[in-house]
Point group: C2
Chain length 136, copies 2
């Protein structure tokens, strides 16, 4: 029983607009980790009116701010976005560039490793390697 984009934005206190709904909906559907430009390209055609690049950036920043989506930093110079906000990490296939979500539960608990001096609020693990894609 997953939430709709509309429900999610309402819960998170983000004012509804058709642009925000369609961007949020797109990010919730895809398992890619698109850049702002990829969001713009994917979403523009789904709206009756023109969609400005500035709106895409405004919206993505607002959604990050509200905790609806997360930024993903895996490569220099481009920010990617992920609607999966559960604590999880990323695996980057160094051959294809494909980015795959790795759930928290797959890792040992490393949060506590740093102890006293470093009060860890959050952490992100990015793996780089070869995806052995012989599985459905």
């Amino acid at each position: 029983m997953s939430l709709t984009a509309k429900e999610l934005l309402t819960i998170k206190g983000v004012k509804l607009t058709s642009q925000r709904l369609v961007i949020t909906d797109y990010l919730m559907q895809t398992h890619d980790h698109p850049t702002a430009d990829e969001v713009l390209a994917a979403v523009a055609e789904k709206l009756p009116m023109a969609l400005s690049r500035a709106t895409v950036y405004n919206t993505l920043n607002a959604l990050v701010e509200a905790g609806v989506i997360r930024e993903v930093l895996t490569e220099p110079g481009r920010t990617r976005y992920d609607a999966n906000t559960s604590e999880h990490h990323h695996f980057v296939d160094i051959n294809s560039g494909k980015i795959i979500d790795i759930p928290q539960e797959m890792l040992p608990n490393i949060e506590k490793a740093l102890g006293e001096k470093y009060k860890v609020r959050s952490y992100t693990v990015t793996f780089y390697g070869d995806l052995n894609d012989e599985s459905p």
Copy 2:
């Protein structure tokens, strides 16, 4: 018995130039994780001739390519550089932005966690939190 910049570049097969030497030397000295612009600002005055921004980028890319330094991605839109190439991770103090190296040994071995499907070549953990700086 740490290597000099000259020795390190020679070992790694990077052709010596005064620009490369001074940039490498600077990165080896500092424990900051400077951006390209910070490298330029810090290093320009140490050279008798003008130092071009393009050279800083060329050099940093060449050094990453040769394994002399590493890129560090902790925040959107800017690439930082680290002359510590031993396997290690980063702690970002969310108050000051200060970035601290966390040695591999401080973490449980998470490399093997992903098993068969994901052949992990490397991984990086970025922690975000509060640095409790009551220690020398």
